[in-house]
Subunit: 133 residues, 4 copies
C-alpha cells in the first residue's frame, strides 16, 4: 500500500507570491488540498457531494517541509500516495518544480472523516481507495 | 527559554470559512504567520524592513495539528513561545477559541533566515529575541 | 438616507501583499466584505445565521476605484454608508490609510438577497437597516 | 480595436467556495487577474520581469457584475478583449461556466502603468499590444 502514485500539474498564480517574491507558505496547503481533491475526484469521490451527504473529510494534521521556493511563472508537479491507518487516511504528498524536478515541499497530511459531525471509522472512502490501490 | 508567552487576538473572517462551514486549513497557516509577524513587530522587527534589507525569515517546516474547528463569528487567541535551535528559530504556537478556551490548532513552525538569498546562522534576530526572552 | 456612517479599523496582513510590495487588489474585496459583515453584525444580523435560515445576501455588482496602495504594516479605516434601492442594498464604502487619511479605495457594492436561492424584494434586512438609518 | 479575444480555461478550486457554497466574490478578482497575466505572458510580457525592471501595471478600477455563481467542480472559460484609452489599458473580461455557457461575471478592469512608482503614459505595453491586436 502506498506505492501507487497520483500526479497532477499546476502553475503558480502571481497573486500567490508574497512580498518576498516567493509563493506564500499557506498556498502550499492549498496546493496539497486541491491535489487531494483532484485525486478523490479521479476515483469518483466528489468533495461537494460528500459534504451535502453529511460526510466531511477533515485534516487532523499537516506536516509540511519546505525545500525550494516556487515563484511567479513556475509550473509544478504535485503527487501523492495514500495509506490507510486505522480510521485515518494518510496522504504522502510531494511538490516538485517542473523545470528541473527540484523538491519544493514534502507534506504528510492525515485526514479523518466526520459523518454528521462525528468522527467515523473511515469506512466511507475505504472501498474506493482499495479499488484504486 | 521558551517559557515566555506572546498572545494576540483575532476574529474569524467569514470569507475564511469554506463550504464545510469551518475555517479552511490553509488559513491557520495565515493565522500563525500574522501572529509571528505581530510578535516580531512587538520586539522591534519589521518583516518589510527586513525584506528590503535582504534579510528574509522563511518557514522551513510547519507541523499543524487540528483539534477543534473555528467557524464564522468566532474570536480566537493566538499565542506563541520561542526557542532558538542552532540557526533556526522554533515557534510553538497555539490557537484557542475565545468563548471556551478550546484548543483549535497546535503548530510547531521552524524558521530559517536567508540573508541575500543564502541561509544564515540566524544571528540577525538573536539579540532581540534574547532581549525578549 | 445614506448619511449615517459605520466605520471600523483593520491592519494589513503581510501575506495580503503581493510581489509588487502592495496589497493585492482582490484583498480590497475582502476588506469591503468584512466591513459589511461587521456592520451587519453591529445591527444584529449574522451572516452565518442568515445562511442557515436560507437567506443569502449576494453581491450583484462591485465597482472599486483604487487610489493609493496599502502596504505591509499599514492600518486603515474602512467606512460605509447604506442606501436601499428597490430590492437592492447599495453600500458606499471607503478605505483610508490611518496614518495620513489618504483615500486608498472607493467602492460601490450592490447587494441582492436570495431567499432559498431565489431573488427576494430585500424585505429581510429592511427593518433593521431602517432602525439603524 | 477590442475585437480580438483571448480565452483560457480554469477550474474552481474547492477552497475558493465560501460558506454559501459558491465561489467567494474576491476570487473573481483573482480569476480576472490570472487571465490578464496569462494573456500578457502569451504576448511575451512577464509580470515578474516587468516588476524587477521597475514597471508595474496596477489596477486603477475594477467593475465586476455578478450574474451566475460558480461552485465546486465547475470549470469556466475566462476571456478578454483589450482597448487602449490614453495612458490606460482597458480589459473587458467575461467569465462563463463551461458546462452551459452561462455568464458568471462581466468585468471592466482599467490598468495604469507605474514606472519606478510614477504613472507612465502606458508606452511600455503599447507595442506588444498593437502587435497582438
Amino acid at each position: 500500500m502506498g506505492k501507487k502514485i497520483f500526479e497532477t500539474e499546476f502553475k503558480v498564480r502571481d497573486y500567490e507570491c508574497d512580498i518576498q517574491g516567493i509563493v506564500n507558505n499557506a498556498n502550499y496547503m492549498h496546493y496539497t488540498e486541491i491535489t487531494r481533491h483532484e485525486f478523490l475526484e479521479s476515483i469518483g469521490i466528489s468533495f461537494l457531494k460528500c459534504h451535502l451527504a453529511g460526510i466531511d473529510p477533515v485534516v487532523a494534521r499537516a506536516d509540511l517541509r519546505y525545500k525550494t521556493s516556487l515563484t511567479c511563472g513556475d509550473s509544478f508537479l504535485s503527487s501523492l500516495t495514500v495509506e490507510q491507518k486505522g480510521p485515518k487516511i494518510i496522504f504522502h504528498q510531494t511538490i516538485r518544480r517542473k523545470s528541473d524536478g527540484a523538491v519544493c515541499c514534502i507534506a504528510t497530511v492525515e485526514v479523518a472523516t466526520l459523518v454528521n459531525g462525528k468522527l467515523s471509522r473511515g469506512e466511507y472512502f475505504e472501498e474506493k481507495l482499495w479499488d484504486w490501490l
